[in-house]
Subunit: 432 residues, 2 copies
């Protein structure tokens, strides 16, 4: 007997049905926004990640050498792949480019609740617009995707900031600050004690007094205070951009879900502008549910023309935790419209009924295992059949079938010419 | 600029839309048959393949050692994974188990038309029934999946045989025949010259005279001749089983697509009973489109209770070739119901219209890039917008919008209260 690999999940039909319903809903929201589905490879050259330094992802790669001697890796995220695809067809693609896709990614990291080594995300990105409306559309899509799943503002909030606010604040100090290290410190601050956080800020180049001051300013989150403290165009512009994004989000229906939170930094170095993270409002899911933001420099870093970009990538594992705690996760069960039960040698007639019902779009099973009456009924119950159509020799000799409602157990005989006849989706109730 | 890896495809929106439509159709057919979707890992322990010998797949594995020292491989096929999943929950799963899934697989092999190193399949399997109705249901599903795509019996045929016919024929010779090598020889015969084929049969243990005789008997494909030649229960039982499967396929509506072809052997060693391959009837796609069959021993080999099994796995690459040559491949393009065009400072009103139309389920885009009138119209054309809703300052001051049909170029002004108003999906034609 073989085991699956740690961090890799098998999804059996009940759980998979709930996942499928959720994924379909998220993707339907994306389609209505005019995001277009793309398909992307599971493997990429490892240098898409290793060429950059300072990225924690590299330590978590499933990287190896293929039989052709290529250094390849299972992709731990989608962004470098879509950047590569944009660069490859930059001239012929009309802008803005609006893409989505749902697929697994792989990271060799510590397995915990809501975090497996194989995990699914729906990536949604816009390339070619630096306008605040693009950031706002990403926020609005994310909000609609969640509310379309049945979540409300009571369940989630988007904590939003701008990379240049933190970067500009660090720069405004008369000190030699490693800005990226400082931003990573802020990104981790929620998981650290205050002294640990201040130590990290000091490691990045602030004095302890500055670290305390910085912490107070950032955690208070007052945009006017931040602008007047920094006194730089960079911070003033960042605040103005953040406010413009929030104004567009108001028009797009997403403002009510957004909270300004300057401690929201996003771990990845490639973000350049507005960044945001989705959190459980009730705090029951303590980690960020997912996040996104603007990354205007990446396409150029990948060899393309300078192209602004903004995106978000809800992870399905944390999202399912949020939905479960909010009570909106779909029931993990399979459903069946009809089971056509054969009694005696009625295979041709049962097959005909089965085919007719399937042609009308229904989920229909019939006996393929030579089962007894009771055994077929048990099976029909196990697949949650709503209606059992009993095709018995005697009934059929009278041009009838028996329709059984599996919820109530009631049944009735109906003429074969009326079942399914003109009914789109006939059930027991149509014949009593 | 980074390249994608050889044998790995990027799918841009137009092509992806055609693939999605096809996949959705195939999966919808599976759902109506009562196959239940499962989700499976991309990585498995390599021993799921390397423990077996004589399987060509092993040479094509993307196998490596992970950071935890596990010997793992990207999965080249689904069957061992579903076998592992059946064994893991054998007691609690009600039988027959009917599963499907669509996902990529990976094999390091020669790249050619219709064969990439990353390729998509929809796997459909039944566990727990040894009855001919189970084999026939697999055939019927495959036939319905293809006809639901618009293909007909003019486009495809299922060449069907039974593993024990070839195995029993080899056994019936008074010679020391390596039966698996012999079956592999038959499987390859279509790609070989007659002398090469006979050489392979001789390598497997037949004399040259026997090889010629065997070749004639098998290529003639007369079941009665085969039974009387072999004079063994094994061959007689296999022929009877094949005929029973074809009779059930008649009831299930799939018989018309099936041709008996004893040269159909399927390369994989795990098949045990009926095997079949789908071919292009016109011969334009020369390779097998896909194949399937019965593999009753695999679950026990994987440490489970003996459990009969039968399945099929259409590959999407060869299937798309078939659909293209048959003229039923969907148009590779994106579609858009509405583009809401902003003229002047009309973002709030345009956003409201956009949200209302999206809520009704339509694909709707609006300006998120601060574009001019002409530039927005060009973009709307590039995404094949059916209707452009022009939200201009002057129109809105009069409580009107302009509705433009992008096909004809005609446009008309309509009161804001009637657009979209009570219309489910209003177009230009509703207002003239």
């Amino acid at each position: 007997m073989y085991d699956r690999i740690k961090g890799f999940r098998d999804f059996y039909p009940g759980e998979m049905a709930a996942r499928r319903e959720t994924t379909d809903s998220i993707e339907d929201t994306a389609r209505r926004y005019g995001f277009r589905e793309i398909g992307t490879p599971a493997l990429e050259r490892a240098e898409l990640w290793t060429d950059k330094s300072g990225d924690d992802i590299v330590d978590e790669l499933y990287a190896f050498e293929d039989q052709g001697g290529r250094h390849v890796t299972l992709t731990p995220e989608l962004t470098p792949t879509v950047a590569r695809m944009v660069v490859a067809k930059q001239q012929e693609l009309s802008k803005p480019i609006k893409w989505f896709s749902t697929r697994p990614f792989w990271r060799y990291e510590q397995v915990q609740q809501g975090r497996q080594r194989e995990f699914y995300q729906t990536n949604v990105d816009i390339f070619g617009s630096s306008e605040p409306e693009a950031d706002a559309e990403i926020l609005a899509w994310a909000a609609d995707a969640l509310t379309d799943l049945g979540l409300t503002g009571e369940h989630f909030e988007f904590r939003i900031s701008h990379r240049d606010i933190l970067g500009g604040l660090f720069e405004s100090y008369d000190a030699d600050v490693d800005v990226e290290a400082g931003i990573r410190a802020v990104d981790k601050s929620g998981k650290l004690s205050t002294p640990e956080y201040h130590d990290l800020l000091a490691d990045a180049g602030l004095t302890y007094d500055q670290a305390v001051e910085f912490d107070e300013l950032v955690s208070a989150g007052d945009l006017e205070d931040v602008v007047s403290f920094a006194e730089t165009d960079r911070v003033a512009d960042a605040v103005a951009n953040l406010q413009a994004v929030l104004e567009a989000a108001e028009d797009f229906g997403a403002r009510e879900y957004c909270t300004i939170s300057l401690e929201t930094a996003r771990g990845l170095d490639y973000y350049t502008g507005v960044v945001f993270e989705c959190f459980d409002s009730a705090g029951e899911v303590s980690r960020s549910i997912f996040g996104g933001g603007r990354y205007d420099d990446l396409i150029e870093q990948f060899g393309g023309q300078p192209t602004p970009a903004v995106g978000v990538a809800p992870g399905h594992a944390t999202l399912s935790l949020l939905c479960q705690r909010a009570g909106v996760w779909p029931e993990e069960t399979v459903t069946t419209d009809y089971y056509v039960l054969q009694v005696g040698d009625t295979r041709p007639e049962a097959a005909q009924l089965t085919r007719t019902l399937r042609k009308r779009g229904h989920v229909v099973e019939t006996d393929i295992a030579g089962r007894s009456f009771g055994s077929q009924l048990t099976y029909a119950d196990s697949i949650n059949a709503e209606t059992v159509v009993i095709a018995g020799e005697q009934d059929l000799a009278n041009d009838e079938v028996t329709i059984k409602d599996m919820e109530s157990g009631e049944q009735t005989q109906v003429p074969l010419e009326t079942f399914p006849g003109e009914y789109e989706r006939p059930t027991f109730d149509d014949f009593v």
